[in-house]
């Protein structure tokens, strides 16, 4: 065979790969084996790559790029830096803590004139306003009157508004002068910089983000636990019932999937609100009096109940797929070996369902942490989650940088939890189906 070199490199490898020449395996025509193998496989690999290319492009375009854009936006702060060149120059020359002198105010007035000319006063004012509320009007008013100002500028400007000498304002402007900032992240964890540039906690009445992160975490854990408690028996029943009955039950489990999220959430509103079905029934039965109807909606209870219901299938399905593969003879063997039914469950059945629990819990928890629409509809003030605040910054305050910083923190938090989870449970133990 060796005198007749075949065209297909696979065949050639079979015939002579056994021979070692100069320490490296070669095929019959002298090409190194590794290169021949790569050449033979490259065609198949290229074809496979072309198949996944559309999905890859889609994911990069709609997922990876937006995420990086969002992360960039959370540290990007160009408004002040681009529109106030004289101030940026003054901040660069004078270290932090320098008392703003006449040159500083000259630079400020020059920049205010520029703002007037370029119509950017609102933009810069908004940027400063993020960190020092009430200062947007300072900039719009200053820019309007800047053209008429006469030196000495410090005095003239202070006459318009004495706030211009506020050291806090100068500290905020100094940090805004840099094109990049971490102040949004500071704000997202209820921190700010004081007049000296030190990081301090914000006033008590303005600490909301950490509380919301904490609430999101606690409620998500609670919802995960509730879905687990409810889903475990159902999944077990599904896995052990005869096929015809279990199919029917499976349809009931999946039914919520086929119903609009909005419809499901609003039906909970119908059930749970103070004039709702449940309260009416309890009043009619005399369990509660008409004046003391239980508030089950527009608070945490509403959020937990509705989200538990909506996320239940995500726990049932992984559990079911794992339980279905557990041979009933394991429990029988345990019973035969002398274990009570409880011991057989605890020692034999339950440990084998852990991969399903792990998968379901991770799925439900991650979905719950980022859930938006249900808490927005049924959460009231008390049952809001961090995603509702992100949405508020996106659509209400239009502070996209803040929204981006909050979202990035949420993403980072989930990654940390995922890592912890991997350490504790092991991601290889996950079984989704």
């Amino acid at each position: 065979m060796s005198e007749n070199v075949p065209a297909d490199p696979h065949v050639a490898i079979v015939t002579t790969a056994g021979g070692v020449e100069d320490g490296a395996l070669t095929i019959s025509d002298g090409t190194p084996l590794k290169r021949a193998l790569a050449r033979a496989q490259s065609h198949a690999r290229r074809k496979a790559f072309l198949l996944v290319l559309p999905l890859l492009a889609f994911i990069i375009l709609t997922f990876v790029v937006p995420i990086f854009q969002m992360l960039y936006r959370s540290v990007d702060s160009p408004n002040f830096h681009d529109n106030m060149p004289n101030m940026v120059a003054w901040f660069a020359q004078n270290p932090s803590g320098t008392e703003p002198d006449e040159t500083a105010f000259t630079a400020l007035v020059e920049d205010l004139k520029l703002l007037k000319k370029n119509r950017k006063a609102g933009l810069v004012g908004t940027r400063i306003n993020y960190e020092l509320p009430g200062s947007r009007s300072l900039f719009t008013k200053g820019a309007r009157k800047a053209a008429k100002l006469e030196p000495p500028y410090k005095e003239a400007l202070l006459k318009i508004d004495p706030k211009w000498s506020d050291p806090k304002l100068w500290q905020v402007m100094r940090s805004a002068a840099s094109p990049y900032t971490f102040n949004f992240y500071l704000a997202a964890v209820d921190r700010t910089r004081d007049a000296d540039g030190k990081i301090v906690r914000v006033n008590e009445n303005r600490r909301i983000y950490l509380k919301l992160f904490g609430r999101t975490l606690v409620l998500s854990l609670l919802i995960t636990f509730m879905t687990f408690i409810l889903a475990y028996p159902i999944a077990h029943l599904l896995a052990t019932l005869p096929l015809r009955k279990s199919n029917l039950l499976m349809i009931l489990v999946l039914l919520p999937f086929w119903t609009s999220l909005l419809v499901r959430t609003t039906s909970w509103m119908v059930l749970l609100q103070s004039q709702g079905v449940l309260n009416d029934a309890m009043v009619a039965l005399g369990i509660v009096s008409d004046d003391h109807r239980i508030q089950m909606m527009y608070n945490k209870i509403g959020t937990v109940v509705a989200m538990t219901h909506i996320l239940l299938p995500f726990m049932v399905l992984p559990l079911y797929s794992v339980m279905r593969t557990i041979n009933p003879s394991y429990v029988r063997a345990a019973r035969n070996l002398g274990a009570t039914s409880w011991t057989a469950f605890r020692r034999i059945y339950f440990p084998q369902t852990v991969p399903g629990i792990a998968a379901g819990a991770l799925l439900v928890f991650i979905l719950a942490v980022g859930y938006y629409i249900t808490p927005a509809l049924v959460g009231g003030a008390d049952g809001q989650l961090i995603s509702n605040l992100i949405a508020f910054h996106m659509t209400g305050s239009l502070n996209w940088s803040m929204a981006a910083a909050l979202a990035a923190l949420l993403l980072g938090g989930i990654l940390v939890l995922y890592w912890l989870y991997d350490k504790l449970v092991g991601i290889d133990n996950l079984k989704l189906g």
């Binding site: 003879s329 345990a334 035969n336 002398g338």
Partner: protein, 364 residues
């Protein structure tokens, strides 16, 4: 280990019936006594009720009617974990999340034994099946035969007096299966335990058991030692199910001494041993084992002409398919040794058999 165990039966099924759906009886009127130390096999085709019987004995199924007694005590209402019966499952059912050692330790743990006693017993049980060095492996890291041994050790580690085995060798290849048959047999002899073994493999049943209960249609068709079962089947099902069997259909014509004269389908008569045939005029089926037929041998009342249809060479013997009395599935085994006539396809030969070896049974 005689078959007379009715007085001091260790395991006893007393008129046991079982139905799953209230319409069909899976087990119909089962009566079975098993003596202490006996190795009894329940043999039968799938769906014959043998596994159901085993499950009722283990406590996973309840008898619809009748009593099951263990050492004289009715156990119908005792939950499985209190019966103290060892069991080897078809798929071994080794707990996949535990090591071999933990698997064996489990029955001792739930019985409240302390750690040193457990370790001692686990070690002894593993050595018994020559698996001592595998104590820290997981079941998934073992081959089928090794898993089988561990399952066996786990069923024996808590020293039960009765061990049930549900087709334990079904998943093994032929060679390993034969090897394990001997090992199980030897363990049984050494430990003096009572074994109830379920299989659908007749050679397994014949090699291992003291007695075999042949199941069909929810009833025990015959309960006998292996040799009796093969040599003296009591009905057509057993004759058919155990070993190879030549069948001749006919009608009872008359009795002569301890023999019955049967008119066969082709008009000829045949003398047979009336085991389970009716009176004159009733249909019967004559069963003759292939090795009880002579070719060109001595002349008996049952000597007849046979046409050779097919020869299959099997080394130590030649299987001959003949046409005898109109039945062209008549098999005769001719030893491939000196002094035996070698047949040629198409030739006609003389075949004969003793009347005692032709058993007239119930028609199928």
């Amino acid at each position: 280990m005689a078959s007379d165990v009715s007085d001091n039966a260790f395991v006893e099924f007393d008129r046991v019936q079982k139905s799953y759906d209230g319409e069909v009886l899976v087990v119909k009127d089962l009566n079975l006594q098993i003596g202490k130390g006996e190795f009894v096999t329940m043999l039968g085709p799938s769906g014959s009720g043998k596994t159901t019987c085993l499950m009722m004995l283990a406590g996973f199924e309840t008898a619809t009617n009748g009593d099951i007694r263990l050492a004289g005590r009715p156990i119908n209402n005792i939950p499985p974990h209190k019966r103290g019966i060892g069991m080897v499952f078809q798929n071994y059912a080794l707990f996949p999340h535990m090591t071999v050692g933990e698997n064996l330790s489990f029955p001792l743990e739930v019985r409240g034994l302390d750690k040193t006693a457990r370790e001692e017993k686990v070690k002894r049980a593993l050595e018994m099946v020559q698996m001592g060095e595998f104590i820290n492996r997981r079941p998934a890291q073992l081959s089928g035969g090794q898993q089988q041994r561990i399952a066996l050790a786990r069923a024996l580690v808590f020293e039960p007096e009765l061990v049930l085995m549900d087709e334990p060798l079904g998943a093994l290849d032929k060679q390993l299966r034969e090897h394990m048959q001997f090992e199980i047999k030897h363990l049984h002899e050494r430990l003096g335990i009572t074994v109830v073994y379920v299989t659908h493999d007749q050679s397994e049943a014949l090699t291992m058991s003291d007695r075999v209960a042949v199941f069909d249609d929810g009833r025990i068709q015959q309960l006998a030692p292996p040799a009796d079962l093969y040599e003296r089947p009591e009905n057509s099902f057993v004759a058919q199910f155990i070993g190879e069997n030549n069948k001749l259909d006919g009608v009872v014509e008359g009795f002569e001494g301890d023999e019955v004269i049967v008119r066969l389908a082709d008009g000829e008569t045949c003398r047979a041993n009336p085991v389970k045939c009716g009176d004159v005029g009733s249909e019967t089926l004559i069963s003759i084992r292939p090795e009880r037929v002579w070719i060109e041998g001595k002349t008996t009342p049952n000597t007849t002409e046979a046409q050779v249809l097919e020869l299959i060479y099997l080394g130590d013997h030649v299987r001959c398919r003949l046409q005898v009395h109109g039945n062209d599935e008549f098999i005769v085994k001719v030893p491939n040794s000196a002094g035996h006539k070698h047949l040629v396809v198409g030739e006609t030969a003389k075949v004969s058999w003793d009347a005692q070896d032709a058993r007239a049974l119930d028609p199928l």
